[in-house]
């Protein structure tokens, strides 16, 4: 069986070798990368531009961005026919390809986020490692913990006032450098699509900018959502009177802080949402007005076959409804949750409509291809490029975040500042 034949149905005149080769994982890829970039930009708003109201969100967004960072390349790896050869991108990079830049840009970005985290949590590492070092007869677990945190300090145990000040400065510089790199990381994900001249739907110079804007939208939305969820869990913990030592607040206090942060963040979300929609509409209007050779088939896809996906699900449910939800006065937590979920859904649909929509018509401009997402897998390929693979990718950052939270405590740390 040819790769892609399982989930492609051809209609009218399609070249024999054409299939939907880029399927759900390639939808997940810009979606996850977008979340990474968006979360980082959100955290930088505090570190670089000193948006004080975002302080709580900033550290959280950074750790979450780090968790997402490990997941972002996973869709591509799962999509590769030879995942283990993926390392060839570092071995013999061919930089005329947008994908080859992936290795470099992605690693550079990863280094920046990791360094920034290191500066923020360096004091924390030392505070854990030093007492363990002095402690006699450590248990096996403590030995393990000691070794991990010793390695994390990178051999620096100086936590004097002066050195911490230097950390602050480094964080600010890294966050500043990180913004253009994060933008670039996602802009080039747009470039991967926008530069494919063979694909009439993808080829537009606006693609990288559209991708950046929607990336920030989705990143902010995901941070808001996860922030709300963790806050709710804390509220439950507090109300159950478990009261871990690092949670001194009452439910009301938490609620107050939470609402404030959400309102602030929502404002940025709306701003970037407007930018993203404007660009997408500009692209659509331009295509219709210039009406080049490919427009006939594009129109039949955009206004016909994919109408529900594009105008109802993406623009309507994913953009317009949350827009109204956030703009209506008296924002509540519940409304924010619905809004952010819809925004995330809208951005996902945007990726879907670009990746799958771009393959919904044939290179002949005289035929169509229909995509049928494999839901029940019957082999490895239909699992990894089906619903199961996509869901695993979506769940992975949350699992990683839970693990990273053990090393980079996002919440207990607030007390010491």
């Amino acid at each position: 069986m040819v790769h892609g034949e399982v989930w492609t149905i051809k209609e009218l005149f399609v070249y024999p070798n054409e299939f939907i080769y880029w399927s759900i994982q390639i939808v997940m890829y810009p979606f996850m990368t977008g979340l990474v970039a968006g979360a980082f930009v959100l955290s930088s708003l505090y570190h670089v531009f000193g948006v004080k109201q975002l302080k709580d969100m900033a550290r959280f967004a950074l750790v979450f961005s780090f968790a997402l960072l490990f997941v972002a390349p996973m869709p591509i790896v799962l999509h590769l026919q030879f995942p283990f050869r993926g390392f060839n991108i570092f071995m013999t990079p061919h930089f005329t390809s947008a994908i080859a830049a992936f290795g470099i840009v992605f690693s550079a970005y990863g280094a920046i986020v990791a360094s920034e985290l290191w500066f923020i949590y360096r004091k924390h590492f030392v505070e854990i490692a030093l007492p363990l070092k002095e402690k006699q007869d450590k248990t096996l677990f403590e030995w393990f913990k000691y070794l991990v945190f010793c390695a994390l300090t990178l051999g620096v145990y100086d936590i004097s006032e002066e050195s911490l000040k230097r950390d602050e400065k480094a964080i600010k510089i890294l966050a500043g450098v990180g913004i253009p790199v994060a933008m670039f990381l996602h802009g080039y994900a747009g470039f991967i699509f926008g530069s494919v001249k063979a694909n009439a739907l993808w080829m537009t110079p606006l693609m990288p900018v559209i991708f950046i804007m929607s990336a920030i939208v989705s990143g902010i939305a995901l941070c808001m959502l996860t922030y709300i969820v963790t806050m709710e869990i804390r509220k439950i913990l507090v109300s159950r009177k478990k009261k871990p030592s690092h949670m001194p607040q009452t439910t009301e206090e938490i609620k107050g802080v939470e609402m404030h942060v959400i309102k602030m963040t929502a404002r940025y979300l709306l701003f970037f949402l407007i930018a993203a929609i404007s660009l997408e509409l500009l692209d659509l209007i331009f295509r219709g007005y210039t009406a080049v050779k490919s427009w006939d088939v594009l129109r039949s896809v955009i206004y016909g076959r994919d109408f529900v996906d594009i105008f109802i699900l993406q623009y309507g449910l994913g953009n317009l409804v949350p827009f109204i939800l956030f703009l209506m006065p008296g924002l509540t937590i519940r409304r924010a949750v619905v809004g952010t979920i819809l925004v995330l859904f809208g951005v996902f649909m945007m990726r879907w409509n670009v990746v799958i929509g771009g393959q919904a018509f044939s290179l002949t401009f005289a035929g169509y291809m229909h995509y049928h997402l494999p839901i029940i897998p019957h082999d490895w390929e239909t699992f990894k490029e089906g619903l199961g693979g996509a869901l695993s990718i979506f769940i992975m950052p949350f699992v990683l975040f839970w693990i990273f939270n053990k090393i980079f405590p996002v919440f207990s740390f607030e007390k010491s500042h």
């Binding site: 071995m91 061919h94 690693s107 360094s115 290191w118 990178l154 620096v156 100086d158 230097r166």
Partner: protein, 155 residues
């Protein structure tokens, strides 16, 4: 201790060095920029020879001529001479050393590739004598009546 700020940078440089050193061992020696430059010629040179070494399967009618001179002369001069022997008899690879290997296609499907009449006057197809396979003795192999080596009326 004075510049702990650069510790992460050292880690990054170390990782880059590991990748560069790994390149020395993993990348084949003949991988590089060849005739068409970095944009179009960045590849492993040895792969060209790998492609050249693929086994040739179809040999051409001159290859058949010496052993099967009778059949060769029989078909030459008929309209079917333009068709290669191997189009019906299968690729001649390994044939002289392993004679039964040839897989002669006697199916009706093979003949109607050309002789199913299509009313396309603007191509060479419209000029080939043809039949409607659904009406002309359906289910019977063409070679029961026609000799493809003497393309003409039924025997």
């Amino acid at each position: 201790m004075k510049n702990h700020v650069f510790r992460p940078l050292l880690v990054v440089i170390g990782l880059v060095a590991i990748v560069l050193i790994a390149r020395l061992f993993i990348v084949p020696k003949d991988f590089g920029v060849w005739e068409r430059g970095y944009m179009y010629g960045w590849h492993r040179k040895g792969n060209e020879d790998e492609w050249k070494a693929v086994k040739v399967k179809f040999q051409g009618r001159e290859y058949c001529k010496d052993c099967h001179s009778q059949q060769y002369s029989q078909i030459s001069g008929t309209p079917h001479f333009r068709i290669q022997c191997e189009n019906c008899h299968g690729p001649a690879i390994d044939h002289p050393s392993d004679p039964p290997k040839l897989n002669i296609d006697r199916r009706r499907d093979l003949c109607i590739r050309c002789h199913s009449y299509l009313p396309y006057p603007t191509t060479v197809r419209g000029k080939i004598k043809g039949i409607n396979p659904d009406e002309h003795n359906p289910g019977i192999e063409c070679v029961m009546c026609h000799n493809p080596h003497k393309a003409s009326k039924p025997i």
